[in-house]
Amino acid sequence: MKEELEAIQTEVLQALKQINTQDQLESLRIEYFGRKGKFTDVMKGMGKLSKEERPILGKLANEVRSSLSDAFETAKTELDCKQQEQQLKAESIDITLPGRKPTLGKAHPVMQVLQRTEEIFMQMGFQVVTGPEVETEHYNFDALNTPPNHPARDLHDTFYLTDGHLLRTHTSPVQIRVMENQQPPVRIIVPGKAYRVDYDVSHTPMFHQVEGLLVDRHVTFSELKGVLVSFARQMFGAQTQMRFRPHFFPFTEPSAEVDISCTVCQGKGCRSCGHTGWIEILGAGAVDPEVFRAVNYDPEQVTGFAFGMGVERIANLQFRIPDIRTFYENDLRFLHQF
């Protein structure tokens, strides 16, 4: 009997090595441990043993059963692992197949730049306000110290409506509207559309401007410089240099045109900046006393500055689109680039 038990142990351990599936494992278990199994059969002979032999063989039988049971368990775990491995292997995919990307909408490039501009000025305490695009001569010109027959009106080729109104040539009229309705301090920026009769690779008849205005009891030209330098550094990079050149606008005095160091060559001089190292980006100046008088502010009591910039121009410093009319074709191949 001892021999039989030992033989069974050897046989089973041997057989387990050949097992490949759970079914085979189960058959093997039944073959030995089933009701008619070989081990069961051997155990049936236990009753015939002598009183002395029984505990010895009983112990051996238990040992064999227990070790084989462990072996079955191990084999089962191994098979499980193998099976999972196979299943996972079968489930593998070609990860180079395209991802199911949610379609991404994109803001218009001009709006992206406009939004960035708004954010920078809002951080400096400027409030965003808007105003009408159909304007009167009064708000667009007269109140801005540009009376009829003033040569400065030549600089603005104005669209007129058949009812005598006009399309604002700049966002500056909103300055007047705000000051008429609010006492200083005023600290606003006015983003919006403006219109001029102009249509070529560098001009669209509709364009976007951001106008800024700061009025308080004592605002200086040096603060105008500070605000714009701060803007330029955030917009174009910390290394950006800024240059203020005297210029003329009817509604500011002193007036300046403001250049930044060329974004292409960093001021060394290249084709983009006409080899000057500078690129004009905006016009600015101290608010002209006549403008204050037009809104019943006392120019001896308040001072201020204003500035205005073309958004397309600033956008194009970055994008370098050869024909800016492309902005308004809304070609999806274009819009998706930004």
Binding site: H108, Y160, P185, V219, L332, H336
Partner: protein, 808 residues
Amino acid sequence: MNITLNWLKNYIDFDFAAEQLAEKLTMLGVEVETIKQLGVALDGVVVGKVISIKPHPNADKLVLCQVDIGKKDKLQIVCGAPNVHDGMVAPVATIGTELHSGVFIKKTKIRGEESYGMLCSENELGISPDAAGLMELSPELSIGTPLTEALGLDDTVLELEITPNRPDCLSLIGVAREVRAETGNELKHPQIELNESDTEIQDITSVTIDAPELCPRYAARIIKDVKVGESPDWLKQRLESVGIAVINNIVDITNYVLMEYGQPLHAFDYHKLNENRIVVRCAAEGERITTLDEYERKLTPDMLVIADAEKPVAVAGVMGGHETEITDSTRDVLLESAYFSPSSIRTTAKTMGLNTEASYRFERGADPENVIPALNRAAQLIAELAGGTLCKGIVDVYPGKREPIQITLRPERVNFILGTELEATEIEQILSRLGFGIEMVQQEGRDQEVAPTEDSVFQITVPSFRVDITREIDLIEEVARVYGYDNIPTTLPKGDIPVLVPNKLTEVRRRIKNFLLSSGMMEAINYSFVHPNCFEKIRLSEDNPLRDALKLQNPLSPEMSVLRSTLIPSLLNNAQHNHNHQINNIALFEISTVFVQDKEPARVSGILAGEIGDGVYGNPYKHPDFFDIKGIVEGALEVCGITDYAFKLTDEPTFHPGRNAELLLDSKRIGILGEAHPEVLENYELPYKAYLFELDLNALAGATDFAKRFKLIPIYPSIQRDLAIVVDKEMQSDLPIDIIYSTGGKLVESVKLFDVYVGDQVAEGKKSLAYTIMYHSATETLTDKAVNDLHDKVIRKLNQELNAELRM
């Protein structure tokens, strides 16, 4: 305006190179737009003299020239020009020269004969288009000198942009004054010496001003026995270098003095003036004049003219008359130098559509005190260069003489405005260099002898040429620009930050835009102007007020002639543009104001058309349908916190009659959406369906509530019941939902339609709608029985109200 460096040096000394000068002028506010070296491509071209000519042995049309270029050896040059002749002085491109055309000159053989250079035409040198023959040079030129030097082409042209407030800079002397402000060097005015004859001008002419308001000053001189002809080379070259056409010596001189002084002059043929006299008056009704450009022009009584005893002979300050112009046969010249009112000249020039060098200056403001110096300078030059004799004296009628403007300037105000700490003496120095008269006004308790301090007050006298300076602030700008904007400190504002008022419209716009972007739509921006036929193209009904669009008086084109009252046509145009370029995944939106009568309401509009998605394996293109656009509208409302709205079918002709809706908020229409009508698609040449929406952002902003409050998360479990009912096919799917809510009351947490079925399983004319109802109580766990009772009640109610049969 163009000037040249060498010409400018006639009026002031400076050591700047062209680039430095450009930088200085630019930083003073006289922007130099371009710097151009004259005659750059003329290196290696020298003055040569043809000393002998013999025929070319192998070619009829060529000759062999011996040319002297000032060196020991004469050059043999093969030439084919028809005008080459013995003794001719002409430009020679020597070996090694690269001409502006790119031609490189080397020793060569032409038909077997050696040629050591090239005799050049003006065209070959890039001087003019003249290619008819060799450029004939003055025999007085010294042989062998570089051509640039010989022709005065060793100069640099600066193109200046003069702002409209600075007419005083529209001349060389004016620019020289700016250089003086920079350097402090004194101006060198032209030396004028006049040899007058005994003939008194008063005896042979007179000037009458009938309109002194429009012509405050008119002066004339007469030069007799001039010889009209070509100007000398130096004069021609000067004018040409700054882009002024050369006419004849008299006219050239007036233009030269115009450039020098900025004072427009006009020369009349004295004998063609009726009664040889001048009357400055407004034109009479119906008068006409043929101007120098040989156009006959109608004159109106608001136009100032220069007339003789009978008729207009010039449009004052704008253009002279053809009849009295200087011709080769002119013998005696009446030279006009005047000052006209800027607004009068401007109106006339504008009405006539003429913009001349004269009108440009007069309308911006000339200097009345410049009238006589410029007149004398021109008279001197005519006498010198055209050989005339100058009559004695000037007729100078000056009814509008004005006292110089006086302005009080407070130095502390300068610093207050600029944020600087300038000393009064610095301010004084700057203004005096600019030609301002300065007097320190005695302050109480102060001694006038002491140097000015910051508390002093200056009394400033404005020179007559500075028409732009009338106020203290104008003087402050003068100080700032000469001191240098770059020298003004850079600081941040110190003032209070104003109270920020939140703006609901801005917030609604921002939220909807972000939502649409995250929905995969691209933002478009279109012009505000559209073609008036767009309303027809989107089939707006005849009485739709949107058709009443504002019209432009001066549109660029019919496509851009009215202001849009709706964004939909613009987006359909964009769809068409993209489709025409084979791009068919059209998902675009635009946020903009539109123009409706006198209002500018804000709108958001969107379009879905073609194939949405990226069309890759696993994520195929999808044709959008009504419910895509409806979902987008619903999402837009959700991000605005608006829940209480309704959709209702409309009869808007823009849309498919059965696939559209208006969006109602408090039973007011605040938007429309739907599938574009097939005719609309056809009008925009779209081969596929397009879905559109347009919402009123002002209405949304008015209805929105961004305030958020916490609501208790349910404690008790919800119980789900699904329900399928069979109803008439035409019935709207939201009717059962309303009934379920009203029947179940607070215990209905949510109702969701999850299936719609039409087909074999239900009777003809019927459809099945399946809903998931979540029952829930905030106060207890609902029992099955309670839910079942309620659910049965719902079913009964649906049956009673909608004749809905439970589908088993």
